[in-house]
Symmetry: C2
Subunit: 689 residues, 2 copies
């Protein structure tokens, strides 16, 4: 195994060593609840020196290997942040964090909270009032408590209760979201005690009705054995007879992926999941670092306790911790390489996370085409893409998260939102303007998904970049524009750190530029433009905790100076997460909006760009009991970075390679009859579905 790269995630032995060093600070009988044991990345300047040596084939400079540790003394509210220097074997920092700074949830804790809530006699007494059928199984979904400033200094979980289908209680995978109960226990984590039991409003207003016998609803299952499955979907296989076009140099806790002139280092951590460093095309640096920074999902129901449903899935739990173990043939199609990872459990011990990233190629239709109508010669290439994908399960919901690279120097970040809507009980016949009834007695409340992608550009090898936006505006009438048809594109340089909106009516387009590197043909600065799909910023009002906490959620773009460039004592981890380093029950004033208030100049400086995008999910009944993917993509495309179409050198799309099958001619009648094909390319039939 190669030596661990300074940007690679922690190895299992490093995790063990770091938590051991933390334990050594305390008496032997101390009990710990570790929340994070993760790489504290070296400052960018140091890391760039490493990358320079790496690409020059020189030995890498010595970089201290540091670890960010967050932990509680178990069963207390004493939450700590520590920096462990593994190179020196010293704990460089170990501070108890202030009031209202809380650690994220973890798997063991969530299971413990579920158990406690379901077994508490007071909860059982409330459930008894519902007179559930014999054998009914109650299920508990603990939710991050959120924040409203009302008696919420303690760290708590708000639990939402459901039953499995009471007519089929033995079905462990029954969709309990079709059977919400109006009872919501609250558990505090410091002492793992029941704080109170909230009874939920089920009408159109905020009245709380006394509990009584519950109306039993039909099941609504998503698992296949409860469906009459389609029988007319024929298999579709992706075959790469000569193998994949990419290479993976697996170095343990990071890997170098190379494909079609792209190069990147892939690692994986607890909070962000997949992280890319040192993204290059044709050996020209593009981005020093790219990752999902956080996401926020505020819900529309203003009634207690629903008004606090506002999840930060990365900050509150961790995209790495919730990553799926991806299965061959299920989660990707074609020739797949899997990356695995090591994360940390609540005892500070390493846990294996197998197959958290899958890498594969996909065909994405035509890449470019032109037919010369004079000669009738067509030139056409297909568009091949490389996909690096993770899938996370956040209790009810899932997100399919992928970086996608193409042959034109473009990078996309794709989110597919799927999984199950978080539901709540509603009385029959009631309609509310903040949710949709998706099943009898079941309300799915509107919610926003606001994603924040962090991109640290390094265009053409310089950290000195700027953010500009261009807009297209009509020219005024003049002698130059006598017919009123002209329009112009103007560029505005963003001078100070801050947030910016989209403006589709002006065709506002954000670009990251390196003005020190100019296009050899047209003299324009090399740039990457950012394609941001239209999105509605957070709707909660500016005084609300939702707004104050999700500091990225009001603007499509934030730009700030890299904190490690301006403050040599700053931790890189302090400004990786646009909603703040500690989002659980956070009070705000700790994310990218706050950082941008430093008023730093961001012109030809070491800048970081946060791109926000998302959707306002107004549920359809078609989104239940499991939701078809909603797909959102952010794109980064070269603008005057190359000197011509970078995909000109993609080999032509030809039948000798593509081996498509024509269904016309001999087989036309058969296609017309039953969809079967027989031709020289037909393979032996595989197993029927």
């Amino acid at each position: 195994m190669a030596p661990t790269h300074p940007l690679a995630a922690l190895r299992a032995d490093e995790i063990t060593a770091a938590s051991k060093l933390i334990r050594s600070l305390w008496p032997a009988e101390a009990k710990f609840q570790f929340k994070t044991v993760t790489l504290e990345e070296p400052p960018k300047a140091l890391a760039l020196a490493v990358l320079e040596a790496e690409h020059a084939g020189k030995s890498l400079p010595n970089v201290p290997r540091k670890v960010l540790v967050n932990y509680y003394l178990r069963n207390t509210n004493k939450f700590h942040e520590a920096i462990v220097n593994l190179s020196s074997g010293r704990v460089e920092r170990n501070v108890r964090l202030g009031a209202n700074v809380h650690g994220a949830g973890d798997g063991a804790e969530i299971i413990a909270v579920e158990k406690l809530a379901l077994e508490h006699p007071d909860v059982k007494a409330e459930i008894a009032k519902l007179q559930l059928p014999e054998g009914a199984v109650v299920v508990c979904d603990p939710w991050i408590y959120g924040a409203d400033g009302v008696n919420d200094d303690d760290r708590m979980w708000q639990c939402y209760l459901y039953t499995r289908d009471t007519a089929n209680s033995s079905e462990l995978d029954s969709c309990h979201y079709a059977h919400p109960l109006p009872i919501s226990p609250v558990i505090s984590t410091a002492d793992m005690k029941l704080v109170r039991i909230d009874i939920l409003p089920t009408g159109a207003d905020n009245m709380i009705k006394p509990l009584g016998p519950i109306h039993i609803r039909p099941a609504n299952e998503y698992i296949p054995e409860y469906q009459q499955l389609r029988t007319d979907l024929k298999p579709l296989n992706v075959v790469q007879p000569e193998g994949a076009s990419f290479t993976v140099k697996n170095e343990g806790t990071s890997s170098i992926v190379a494909w079609q002139k792209w190069h990147m280092r892939v690692s994986f951590n607890q909070r962000e999941g997949m992280v890319l460093h040192d993204i290059r095309y044709d050996n020209r640096p593009l981005f020093y670092r790219a990752s999902l920074s956080d996401m926020n999902i505020p819900y529309a129901d203003p009634r207690h306790p629903y008004h606090k449903k506002s999840a930060f899935d990365l900050g509150d739990v961790g995209a790495g911790l919730m990553a799926n173990d991806l299965q061959l043939g299920c989660d990707c199609l074609g020739s797949i390489y899997y990356l695995s990872s090591v994360l940390t459990d609540d005892e500070g011990a390493p846990i294996e996370m197998p197959n958290v990233v899958c890498i594969h190629e996909q065909d994405a239709g035509i890449g470019w085409k032109h037919t010369n109508y004079r000669t009738m010669r067509a030139a056409v290439v297909r568009r091949r893409e490389l996909v690096l994908q993770s899938i996370i399960t956040v209790a009810n919901y899932e997100y399919i998260l992928a970086f996608i690279f193409d042959q034109t120097g473009a990078m996309e970040y794709e989110v597919r939102a799927t999984g199950i809507l978080s539901t709540q009980p509603i009385d029959d016949g009631v309609d509310v303007p903040f949710g949709t009834r998706v099943h009898p007695g079941v309300l799915a409340v509107h919610h926003q998904h606001i994603f924040s992608l962090r991109v640290d550009p390094h265009l053409d090898g310089s950290a000195k970049n700027r953010l500009v936006y261009e807009e297209a505006h009509a020219m005024p009438r003049s002698d130059f524009n006598p017919h009123g048809t002209g329009y112009e594109v103007h560029e505005t340089v963003v001078s100070k750190a801050g947030g910016l909106d989209i403006d589709p009516f002006a065709n506002r387009t954000f670009k990251i530029q390196n003005v020190a590197s100019r296009n050899p043909i047209n003299g324009k600065p090399v740039a990457y433009k950012i394609h941001i799909p239209a999105f509605q910023p957070m709707l909660a009002d500016k005084q609300s905790f939702n707004y104050r906490r999700a500091e990225f959620a009001d603007k499509a773009v934030y730009v700030v100076r890299n904190n490690s460039a301006t403050d040599s004592r700053a931790l890189v981890s302090d400004e990786l997460y646009s909603g703040g380093k500690y989002t659980n029950q956070s009070r705000g004033d700790a994310g990218v909006r706050t950082w941008s208030k430093r008023g730093d100049s961001v012109v030809d400086e070491d800048i970081v760009v946060f791109v926000q995008f998302g959707l306002n999910h107004v549920p359809r009944i078609e989104d239940f009991p499991v939701m078809p993917v909603e797909i959102i993509k952010v794109g980064f495309k070269p603008v005057n970075f190359f000197d011509r179409n970078p995909a000109l050198d993609v080999p032509p799309s030809v039948q000798a390679v593509n081996k498509s099958v024509g269904l016309n001619g001999e087989v036309e009648a058969k296609v017309g009859e039953d969809g079967k094909v027989e031709s020289c390319c037909t393979k032996e039939p595989t197993a029927k579905l």
Copy 2:
């Protein structure tokens, strides 16, 4: 062959019969230039009766077979519109159209104009001033003349001239767009004469410089033999070992395509290209008719004659006429069925148009997934799509146009813009705010692509539909919303015909509803929502000819009443094309904005919806010499139309069917080395690229 369906395109013999009937109206020596001989569709009410009988398995009612014919008396400006009734053998209408109503271009005419422009001695004399190298080959791109109201009553072509690479003049497929010349002849079509020669501005202002020796520029070729092709792209094949999942019932000039509960009738005509009728899901009608209505591409350069570059590719020439003959293994991947068509030449004779539509399935990633974290059971299905694709070549540019259907009842219309930028000469060192230098001496001017998709809804079997839009707005603070987090979604009914904007900040979402059909679970009207990507409406000012002509280009959505429902004498063809029936050199006041001014009520009426979308193309140097696809999609998704996720019954994604190949394990090292895979699923190597 089945009898021709009343909605099917004209057969070859019908084309011949119709043009013969037109010829019979005139003296035998009359010469004709036919512009259109195409089906005049029956009024919707009549067509619906046909569809009802068809789906009931009854014999179809008798519907007169009518033909829309446009023709000139050759070498005159006498342009006619005629309706031929083939059932009765009578010409029902034959009128000479008024001043400033002109016919579209056709292939033969374009070739003739090129020849005339290049061979005219006056043009040759101007070209001589450029002192082109020995053997230089000049190429002519005739452009639709556009309109500015200045001496443009006659129908004309504006010709732009280029050379092939003068160092390689024998290369017939040299990209001449890298070598624009500053000379632009104008040809009138009535007499096929040279009207004048425009000399083009090449600086930043509108000064015209005297012609002199031209600066010879390097070549910039797109065809593969001039590239150093990538050698590391391995083949990727899509294999359907049991055949395709769709069936095609080919009835000659229309076909019934059925796939995964979808049903539609596909036909193809000269102007719109592919047209879909009777689109159903699970035998529930969704749309009576869907097609691309027109597109407009206005350019930003305000200087004569460039200010008149504003193409209507459907109205000015025809998406059908420009359709590519699609090739197996080049334009699609997998198992492909091709549809062919018959159109009309300028003599009114039928011309075969082979392989104008390709039909295939594609895998589109995960369709939905959920993992129960308590049992760790994952349920996942893939998303299969059916693609019906045409590709059109509009001189320099191409559009890849596709209807895409999925397994959740959703329909998409996808446009991929590719091909070559229309270029013009520019002096060295000059930058202009309305274009990008993409090659030495070559300016690619900014331009808007504004597409207009026409959808005639028939949700759940009723023509009585309404258009609504919903918006999400913050709730004011109140006792009900004490924390300022709540938000609501409100629906507004569009009462009168007219145009509407997008509003991303309000999450404005348009929906087509049938209020007479209610969701059985939540009582909401069945609906389809329209996903429209953010787009900038036309920038040309409201007094400009560009604006007045492209009546669809100012609003994302237009809704009108179906003209054949309100006026029994109306022709269906009068209101199919949102920029007007005759766009070539049109003067405006003839498209959807004008129709909407009737002020018709559109609530629970027979409505037609036009969806506009597009992009403002600010060229990058990466878009030359051929442009990577820009992809834009409009989506139509069911909202409370079904009673749960319609894709619940898609069989699970499993390895036994998907036959993916794992690259880890045994082959890990090999992948790390050279990307080769060897596993039990590996096929014999195919030919190397």
